[in-house]
């Protein structure tokens, strides 16, 4: 339980600091730490495959995409710190977020949740996961593959330069 508290504090702290900084590079790097903390929580809960998927997808891939987006959308070499946000928006956001957190926390604490009596995690080895994915969930796996292909092709189309003449001149 001590390990869980440390993981939760580290994840929440890095996420909160990351979303309040003005330097986008620092925000992206701190969010990588936060995603790694979430992967540590998955390991703690006994879901090893999900932990490694989280490390591969978030710590490895999404973080690189975010860093490239940050570097591609700045106007000059020194343009890393973004402009200061308005105070009114920040106060409104804090009020809304605090209210949502209060409602959620009260609901979680006051609900008598039925928990499993034993403390051992349910068995979800890679073997059973593979059988489940290839058996009852095979259609969903194929659809996810198709969705990823279409989404990444669409991302390339959206982000690419649209006029071929211009690229011909530059190259």
């Amino acid at each position: 339980m001590i390990a869980f508290l440390l993981i939760a504090l580290g994840t929440l702290g890095t996420a909160a600091v990351a979303l309040s900084l003005r330097n986008l590079i620092h925000s992206a790097l701190l969010l990588i730490a936060s995603w790694a903390g979430i992967a540590a929580f998955y390991l703690w809960a006994g879901a090893e495959f999900v932990a490694f998927a989280q490390v591969l997808v978030y710590v490895g891939a999404v973080s690189m995409v975010v860093l490239f987006a940050v570097l591609l959308t700045r106007r000059s070499r020194e343009d890393l710190a973004i402009a200061r946000e308005s105070i009114g928006r920040a106060i409104g956001a804090l009020i809304v977020g605090g209210a949502v957190l209060g409602v959620l926390a009260l609901a979680v604490i006051s609900t008598p949740l039925a928990t499993a009596p034993e403390a051992s995690p349910p068995a979800a080895t890679v073997h059973t996961l593979g059988l489940q994915l290839m058996g009852p969930h095979a259609a969903a796996l194929l659809i996810v593959g198709l969705l990823l292909t279409v989404a990444l092709l669409g991302a390339i189309v959206i982000a690419s330069t649209d006029t071929p003449e211009k690229t011909k001149n530059t190259t």
Binding site: L24, A28, F41, A45, A47, G92, V108, I158
Partner: protein, 105 residues
């Protein structure tokens, strides 16, 4: 007050969700808003794992499989979102949300 581990996990995920929500509402940089949305998605995945681990009558692998599919869809969403950010930047030379209002009626 005696909290069960399931309730602690749910409190953790709701706190992460609210941090993402505050980031989405308070920041005006498009990349930071997208990162806040990613944090909220991760909080939802934490709930799946918590209920799979501590819930009554745990199914063998249902929660884990749901989280794997959610991570795949979230990766596609992040790629498309950041491509949109780059497209908006190419048109306006700026990624502040308040100035991307060309389509406003």
């Amino acid at each position: 007050m005696n909290l069960s581990p399931l309730q602690l996990c749910l409190l953790f995920s709701s706190a992460l969700f609210c941090i993402g929500l505050i980031g989405v509402l308070a920041r005006s940089n498009t990349i930071l808003v997208l990162l806040g949305v990613e944090l909220m998605l991760n909080a939802a995945n934490l709930n799946f794992i918590a209920f799979w681990r501590y819930g009554p009558a745990p199914a063998p692998a249902t929660g884990v499989i749901f989280v794997i599919f959610a991570i795949a869809v979230a990766a596609a969403e992040a790629a498309v979102g950041l491509a949109l950010v780059i497209a908006v930047y190419r048109h306006q030379r700026n990624i502040r949300l308040q100035e991307a209002n060309t389509l406003r009626g």
